[in-house]
């Protein structure tokens, strides 16, 4: 007899429908899986057989053929254990086939019949809903993650036996109750609060501007200046994730298997810190399965690159396209996948190989050629995409021991949120989320300068040796500064302050 039911597969962060068919016919006992399965699926026959036997069902001792359609699309993962087992039970008439048809199933089986969690449930649940399915059966452990999807009945199951009892109508179950994503979103725990960072007003101001406008930022300073500490405090002042952003980010983390299953959703903006030995594939995504990389995991959050010049140059160059477009397309021989990668880049570096060029702490003993070579590891086009360049130096001992606490992150965040709200209103329906991502058309429209500001900016470019390409960067930063101040127009003060954040343009003359 033949049975067919529905399951799902993943291509990138998009799900697609998979029909699972099982045919039982006379012949020597055998189990054949066709339909471009990967190794995990091929091995599933062993798990399925044991699970069926240990679940006290009858394993048909005949020839079994399982087909996964569409046959030309590669299927990956352990989603199909549960649907295959159910298909075999239905084909051998141990299950009420009529009732099974309206469901789709996902789940990995343990040998004793338990159902184990799988990766990528969220995008699949979304795809199931969008392709018109009304009922979805998933592993219990994945429930938290799926509960944010509305408009589809989701049932969690713990074992094969439970599933069969439920499908045969012996133990009725209520579908999972839907949770609103915004109810669980909160500020994530951050590893640092601005309150504990003494001094460093300049760097903190720059981080505030970066957070408010989504600007990329580069911190330059000697070892021990607190660059890492400053960067780690950044998540505390970032605006909260919106429910839509949270779901999008969760999709990626779910596919990558990086999701905290008890939470079920990415609650705060991700802060990814790939080490400088990272490869291009780890950063942008890749592998035979075209997995999402660090930049996609940092989607809607922060990608922190410590010691920027230590990264392999060609690895850094791969960041250029995603920094511009907010997406990354990973092409592999078998498939090509596009992942969202809309992140804020925060980088830190020493000003020279010894680390003390321009510092008060110690004199630098690098030669100009050494410094040039060091800076040369970061290409101009990449530096071009960094709006804020900030120098930091070690804090004096007296400042460290000063008793008064600095302003805390919550206070800064209030200002950042207000500035973001202004931008959301301004960019409504334009697909742009922050000042940093403005198109040149939008720069013209929204960064109109007052005559006084225009004159001063021109003078600044002529007198202070700023490069021409810094121009739009300065305007965008000025726009954010005006937003933080609550100003409709970009005034002279905002532009003049924005000029302060271009240091690499003029720092190095030998």
């Amino acid at each position: 007899m033949l049975a067919k039911l529905y399951s799902f597969g993943l291509n990138g962060i998009d799900g697609f429908t998979v029909e699972v068919e099982a045919d039982i016919h006379r012949g020597m006992p055998a189990f054949e899986t066709v339909g471009l399965p990967d190794a995990a699926i091929k091995e599933s026959k062993e798990r399925v057989r044991s699970a069926i036997k240990n679940g006290r069902f009858q394993y048909p001792t005949t020839r079994i053929t399982v087909n996964l359609a569409p046959a030309d699309q590669k299927k990956v993962g352990s989603f199909y254990d549960l649907p295959i087992a159910l298909c075999i039970l239905a084909a051998s008439e141990q299950l009420d086939y009529e009732r099974v048809k309206e469901f789709c199933f996902l789940g990995e089986l343990a040998l004793d019949g338990r159902v184990r969690r799988v990766q990528g449930i969220l995008p699949i649940a979304i795809a199931a809903k969008e392709s018109g399915f009304r009922k979805l059966v998933i592993p219990e452990e994945n429930l938290a993650e799926a509960s944010f999807i509305d408009g589809i009945e989701i049932y969690g199951v713990g074992s094969l036996g439970e599933t069969v009892a439920f499908l045969n109508g012996e133990t009725p179950r209520a579908p999972l109750t839907h949770r609103e994503a915004c109810a669980v979103l909160k500020q994530g725990e951050t590893s640092g609060d601005f309150r504990y960072i003494k001094g460093q007003y300049f760097a903190k101001r720059a981080l505030e501007i970066a957070a408010a406008g989504g600007h990329n930022i580069l911190l330059i300073g000697p070892p021990g200046a607190g660059k890492t500490m400053l960067a780690k405090a950044l998540p505390g002042i970032l605006p909260d994730l919106t429910p839509a952003e949270a779901l999008e980010t969760t999709k990626i983390h779910s596919v990558a298997g990086k999701l905290d299953y008890s939470e079920g959703i990415v609650r705060s903006r991700p802060f990814r810190t790939p080490h400088h030995t990272t490869t291009a594939a780890a950063l942008t995504g890749g592998g035979s399965n075209a997995h999402p990389g660090e930049i996609s995991l940092a989607h809607n959050g922060v990608l922190y690159l410590d010691e920027l010049p230590e990264y392999d140059k060609h690895v850094l160059e791969t960041l250029r396209q995603p920094l511009e477009d907010g997406v990354i397309t990973v092409a592999r021989s078998m498939r090509s996948v596009t992942y969202p990668a809309n992140f804020m880049m925060v980088a830190s570096m020493n000003p020279c190989p010894c680390g003390y060029y321009g510092s008060k702490k110690r004199t630098c003993d690098c030669t100009p050629a050494e410094i040039k070579r060091y800076l040369g590891r970061i290409s101009g086009p990449l530096l071009d995409r960094i709006d804020l360049q900030v120098e930091v130096d070690c804090v004096e001992y007296s400042e460290l021991t000063e008793p008064a606490d600095a302003e805390d992150s919550a206070a800064v965040k209030t200002r950042v949120d207000a500035a973001r709200a202004r931008q959301t209103e301004r960019f409504a329906d334009s697909g742009v989320y922050g000042n940093a991502k403005m198109t040149s058309e939008q720069v013209r429209r929204f960064c109109a300068l007052t005559p006084e500001a225009k004159e001063l900016l021109q003078a600044a470019f002529e007198r202070l040796g700023l490069s021409a390409r810094a121009y739009t960067r300065v305007l965008k930063v000025a726009r954010t500064i005006a937003d933080l101040a609550g100003d409709e127009r970009v005034g002279a003060d905002a532009v003049m302050e924005a000029v302060r954040f271009r240091s690499l343009d003029k720092k190095y003359t030998f």
Binding site: A369, V395, A459, L464, I481, A485, M496, E497, A498, R502
Partner: protein, 366 residues
């Protein structure tokens, strides 16, 4: 053969040094005389030049190869001066030792006969050194002096750049051939100097890539072209000290600009002072007085600036010395926007200078 050809010829013979040439000149007086007796007096000339040099020179003594040499310069668009030319500066011709047979140059050669001062110093200059260089160049250039230096890293390049900024003529004397600007990253600076009507000059053939000896060697030309040498910062083994020695040898004034006492760039100044080679100066006018030059009477009037309260406050804070942004933020009690705007404005007016975007100090010296 013209005298110019003669110099083109012997400048291409390695080992035909000025000293040996002088010996020949003592005997023969005129170069024509020497050329006439070149074959007949072989033994005598060999004793002055050594046989190897005679061989090499003899091989090159041929109107065709001399013309070819001249052509090669022309093709590289490089001009050549020999002591036979009128534009060849007297200051070098009368140096009294090691006078180069050729000067290759790009730019305006007349600058070499104008009044110049040299500014030299450490290749690893500090921010303070850069600041002093700029301040002195500005005033000296204002009094009508040209600025001579060596296009090296550090003080040299600051001196050239400051001269360019002040629209003053500047001369770069290279220790390598003109087609091998050293350091290579200053090629653009050299171009800028030429574009601005300055001069880049070298005593070497264009294809010479420089050697450890050629740089100290060219320092004698830097001293010769200048009425005085200013030493800004110099470590104990700084190459700039050779320029000082040459200046002393040539009877030129050496002015020492005090470096920061605790920096290693003070050692060279100290040794120069202690050995009596030069004296400390404390302002550009000291240099002008010593050279007998009237300070520029019509200095550009400082524009009367309308400084607001905030800017004034920051200037007051900075009067005590260099401060970083964070201290300014704490002491001035302004918002970030106000402070940032003030700093940019003050920098635009030239009232303060910034190191990167963190350290600030009062900018104008005089």
């Amino acid at each position: 053969m013209t005298e110019r050809d003669f110099f083109l010829w012997i400048s291409g013979v390695p080992g035909w040094t000025w000293r040996r040439d002088e010996r020949l000149k003592e005997y023969y007086g005129d170069y024509r005389h020497l050329c006439e007796r070149w074959k007949t007096d072989r033994a005598l000339i060999e004793s002055a030049l050594t046989p190897e040099v005679y061989e090499a020179a003899d091989a090159a003594l041929d109107p065709k190869s001399i013309a070819k040499r001249a052509e090669a310069f022309a093709r590289a668009k490089i001009n050549v001066l020999t002591p036979a030319d009128e534009l060849y500066p007297d200051s070098i011709r009368n140096m009294g030792y090691d006078v180069p047979f050729i000067l290759t140059y790009v730019g305006n050669p007349e600058l070499m006969s104008c009044r110049n001062v040299a500014i030299v110093g450490s290749r690893r200059s500090s921010a303070y050194g850069a600041r002093m260089t700029e301040a002195f160049v500005k005033s000296l250039a204002g009094a009508g002096l040209g600025i001579v230096s060596g296009l090296a890293y550090g003080i040299d390049s600051h001196a050239h750049r400051a001269a360019l900024a002040a629209n003053a003529p500047t001369i770069a004397v290279l220790g390598s051939g003109l087609r091998h600007i050293t350091p290579p990253s200053h090629t653009e600076l050299a171009r800028e100097i030429v574009r601005a009507g300055g001069l880049v000059v070298s005593e070497f053939d264009p294809d010479f890539g420089g050697s450890p000896y050629s740089y100290p060697q060219r320092n004698r030309l830097i001293a010769a072209l200048s009425e005085g040498v200013l030493l800004v910062e110099a470590g104990s083994k700084s190459g700039a000290l050779y320029t000082v020695d040459h200046a002393v040898e040539q009877g030129k004034d050496v002015f020492l600009i005090p470096a920061e006492l605790d920096s290693e760039n003070f050692a060279g100044l100290k040794s120069a002072y202690e050995s009596g080679k030069g004296n400390f100066v404390y302002a550009p006018d000291d240099v002008l007085n010593a050279l007998g030059i009237e300070p520029a009477q019509n200095r550009p009037e400082k524009p009367v600036l309308q400084l607001d309260m905030n800017c004034q406050k920051i200037l007051d804070s900075l009067s005590a010395g260099e401060l970083n942004y964070d201290s300014l933020f704490e002491s001035a009690g302004l918002t970030h926007s106000e402070l940032g705007a003030c700093l940019t404005k003050l920098e635009l007016f030239g009232l303060i200078g910034a190191r990167g975007n963190y350290y600030y100090r009062i900018g104008e010296l005089d």
